[in-house]
């Protein structure tokens, strides 16, 4: 953190809407992401959550870590359920059965829930134009069931269903670009974020909640268990993902792209890849291939953000 932000931490919302006692692993940056998202949203929020680590760790009966109305739904239908809530409550407000109030309707899911299983329903909800926010917590695999690859797992990552070995480099496909898919729906607001950059993240959450219509947030959420890194390094690896441009922080407001943070200097991707157990088998040539792709993708983004 820079000098300014160090003290800015004290200006952050004190209330906790994702309470202690949840059962996420030690050092889970996905749990930190949820905590920060909820701080930014505040109490007038309703959440529908697909299954996944965050659903499981926050709601073992008879307890809940949620301080706002929250519903656990099936894997695929968080978007459908929250947009149903939005339409229903708006209708009741219109008819005078509920007092008019600004409520944040928020669907949340992991990368498996979003990139694979709930993709169709997310697309439908974005297309229908409901006033809601979708938050994807991307830890780059189906972590809750023991690290299976999803379509958001990056090339070369070893998971239990894309294991590295003599004949395999791990994940064979490139990471699906979910924010771009959301942008293709021409919705008001799309942004990427990472809890290692908490102020950038919370600002984007507030923007997403403020715009009229659908908003999509894609949050890179470091998972020490699945990435095979020490728990205390979860923040560090999020920072490295951003500073190597593997995961650029940007937003797209009414079609206008903007990089919200430009790493300077840009670090070599090697620094991000090397310490992670899931990439341990990669050769210098493999890492070079990742570097080339990363640079090319980042340059495209820079161009897009320079267009007015």
């Amino acid at each position: 953190m820079d000098k300014f932000s160090v003290y800015a931490a004290r200006l952050v919302e004190k209330g906790e809407y994702f309470a202690s006692g949840h059962r996420a692993c030690q050092g889970c940056a996905e749990a930190l992401a949820v905590r920060l998202v909820m701080k930014a949203l505040g109490r007038d929020t309703i959440v529908a959550m697909a299954t996944g680590c965050m659903e499981i760790v926050s709601s073992p009966l008879p307890t809940t870590a949620w301080e706002v109305p929250w519903i656990h739904v099936a894997f695929e239908n968080a978007s459908a359920v929250i947009t149903g809530c939005e339409s229903g409550m708006k209708a009741m407000m219109r008819k005078g059965k509920l007092p008019p109030k600004k409520i944040n309707f928020v669907a949340m899911g992991g990368d498996g829930a979003t990139a694979d299983i709930g993709m169709g329903q997310l697309s439908g909800a974005l297309e229908r134009g409901h006033d809601f926010v979708y938050v994807c917590y991307d830890n780059e695999a189906y972590m809750n069931t023991g690290i299976q690859r999803s379509s958001a797992t990056p090339w070369g990552a070893s998971t239990t269903t894309s294991p590295a070995g003599k004949l395999s480099k791990g994940q064979r496909t490139q990471k699906k670009d979910l924010p771009k898919i959301a942008i293709a729906h021409n919705i008001p607001y799309v942004a990427t974020a990472c809890p290692s950059f908490p102020f950038d993240l919370m600002e984007k959450v507030k923007k997403a909640a403020a715009v009229e219509g659908p908003a999509y947030l894609h949050i890179l959420s470091v998972c020490p268990t699945g990435w095979r890194i020490p728990s205390e390094e979860a923040i560090k690896y999020g920072r490295l993902a951003v500073n190597t441009c593997v995961f650029p922080l940007y937003e797209c407001l009414y079609g206008k792209y903007r990089l919200t943070y430009r790493p300077n200097p840009i670090l070599p991707v090697r620094e991000y890849i090397e310490g992670q157990g899931r990439f341990r088998h990669l050769t210098p040539e493999d890492i070079e291939a990742i570097q080339e792709r990363t640079t090319a993708e980042y340059e495209k983004l820079v161009k897009l953000s320079e267009e007015v």
Partner: protein, 97 residues
Amino acid sequence: MARPMEEIRWQDLEIGATVSEPGCSREYKTGSWRSLRPVVDGEQCIRCGVCWLYCPDAAIDRSEDGHFQADLDYCKGCGICARECPVGCITMEIEES
């Protein structure tokens, strides 16, 4: 919760498995998972709150004299606070009990 968590049986659950007490996960003390304990040097602490902001378990509070301190009921000992503290005044010590 009205009764201790361990005493609640499935027959006691509400219809639809609704949980009507917000944030009652606090009944479940994750501090017992910890093998390392963060110890803050209150003299050196600049009271910036960075440790508090980054804790995934919301397990850091202000102490009476204003510096920041881990809440040992919930701290899982991940070490993030020690790693991110800008002045390096948190050390992770082996938990004895």
